[in-house]
């Protein structure tokens, strides 16, 4: 057994995380295009429908959440396929570090570079949809838990399809049914807050779902990557 040069688990995680973040920063268009897509399409809805204030506040949470999921699905193709194309993935799989941990680092980097910008930009969309300031805060909270859960679930879909070219639509087909609980609770919690109800139960559910996905997603993704790169 080769001694792995005193590299701790955390350092492997950190190295993977930083490397992936730099990879994303090197191609900013990969990150920005889904964000611009998110902003443009959510801003297009008020043109298409009756844009009265009441109607906008009613449909706003749903549209913001559906569009967040759609733009998020667009970013999933870069999670593993770039590494699979240039051969880095084989080295990641062969490394002495546990693969689920490295996968988790990749997922965190993906959230950091796709989920976080989406959360930062979301207040603008909230204002477009006539939300109050405290509703926007609730929306940010739902997006915080929700996008991390989306990264975790999306990682499974992306890892299942690494051996397939142009798998973008296929990934959406695979993971959308599993993402529905996030969509329901994300949008409903914002909607409940607008009607003055309590929202803490919805946030509890979203964080619980996030933890639940955290418990199986790295392992399922790692298994799928191993099989897919055989």
């Amino acid at each position: 057994m080769i001694k792995s040069n005193n590299i701790s688990l955390l350092s492997g995680f950190n190295a993977m995380f930083r490397r992936d973040c730099f990879q994303y920063l090197k191609n900013p268009s990969q990150l920005l295009n889904p964000l611009i897509f998110f902003v443009m399409i959510t801003a297009a809805f008020p043109f298409a429908i009756n844009s009265s204030k009441l109607q906008l506040t009613q449909i706003g949470p749903g549209i913001i959440w559906v569009m967040a999921i759609l733009s998020y699905l667009l970013t999933l193709q870069h999670l593993y396929s770039d590494d699979a194309d240039d051969g880095c993935l084989d080295y990641i799989i062969l490394s002495p570090q546990p693969l689920p941990l490295l996968v988790l680092a990749k997922i965190c980097a993906h959230w950091f570079s796709s989920g976080l910008p989406l959360i930062i930009i979301s207040p603008i969309i909230g204002i477009i949809y006539q939300m109050q300031v405290d509703t926007i805060l609730v929306m940010i909270a739902t997006l915080f838990f929700g996008t991390f859960a989306l990264s975790l679930i999306g990682s499974i879909g992306a890892s299942l399809t690494i051996s397939i070219n142009n798998s973008n639509i296929l990934v959406s087909l695979l993971v959308l049914p599993i993402m529905i609980p996030i969509l329901i609770f994300g949008a409903r919690t914002i909607g409940l807050h607008q009607t003055g109800s309590t929202t803490i139960s919805g946030l509890y559910f979203m964080s619980a779902y996030c933890m639940f996905a955290l418990s199986f997603s790295p392992f399922a993704s790692a298994a799928a990557l191993r099989i897919g790169s055989e």
């Binding site: 299942l160 051996s163 559910f205």
Partner: protein, 248 residues
């Protein structure tokens, strides 16, 4: 018991046993379905609330039951296939998926037809069973789409088995999140259908239909799995011998 299971895991014995089971499953299933349908449609008394419209229950409930049973079966087979690497289990999943998808579609269709006179609408988003059945159909379709797009058989087997397990652990969450969502929302007054516990003259045809449909599903599953097994094993000696018979 274990010896029997080990035998079943071999494609050759599975093929043999499946071939001998189909002639029992198919006629008995069809017979029970005919009995159940005739009794249910003509002899069971009309429901005191729903009149004769309730009779679609004799198609709807078996279809819905099979759609869930088939996914559980696929999840169990995926579990077995991934952990004990039993090849037959992959063939069972391939055989069950289109059948399960079709019964899910039937359950949705009959539910929708039933909903029209009862709830006054073809589709009711407020009913958790209806919407989670729809998501189940999406899970079936996603499995078939993934399976169809991976050319390598071994990879397709394992990756789609992972997908099935992920779907299976999410089905309860999907169901309960839809249910909680509707309980957060105001309750629909249309959905108070059902009434009292079902009378025995209505129940027996339903049980006959459920058992009959299960046997019918089982025989179709065996036929499809047999075809899948023979396709996978077509280069083995026993398959060649059996298919070509005395030409060899």
């Amino acid at each position: 018991m274990w010896a029997f299971l080990h035998k079943m895991a071999s494609p050759r014995y599975f093929y043999k046993i499946a071939s001998s089971l189909v002639p029992w499953f198919l006629p008995s299933g069809l017979l029970l379905m005919v009995i159940g349908l005739i009794n249910g449609l003509f002899y069971a008394p009309p429901d005191y609330q729903q009149g004769d419209a309730f009779r679609i229950i004799y198609v709807h409930v078996p279809a819905a039951y099979i759609s869930m049973m088939a996914y559980s079966l696929m999840a169990f087979a995926a579990f077995v296939a991934l952990i004990w690497r039993i090849k037959i289990a992959h063939a069972v999943i391939v055989g069950a998926a289109p059948l399960g998808a079709w019964f899910t579609f039937l359950a949705l269709l009959t539910g929708s037809i039933w909903g029209r006179p009862m709830w006054g609408t073809w589709w009711e988003w407020g009913d958790p069973r209806l919407t989670s059945e729809l998501l189940m159909l999406f899970l079936y379709l996603g499995y078939m789409a993934l399976r169809a797009s991976i050319p390598n058989l071994a990879q397709a087997d394992k990756l789609s088995a992972i997908l099935i397990l992920i779907g299976a652990i999410n089905i309860p969450i999907i169901h309960f999140s839809v249910e909680w969502w509707t309980s957060l929302h105001q309750g629909s007054t249309l959905l108070k259908a059902g009434g009292p516990a079902i009378a025995s003259s209505m129940l027996y045809p339903l049980l006959a239909m459920i058992i009959g449909t299960t046997l019918y599903f089982g025989s179709l599953l065996l036929v499809r799995t047999k075809a899948e097994v023979i396709n996978r094993e077509k280069h083995s000696r026993w398959a060649k011998k059996m298919l070509l018979g005395n030409q060899l």
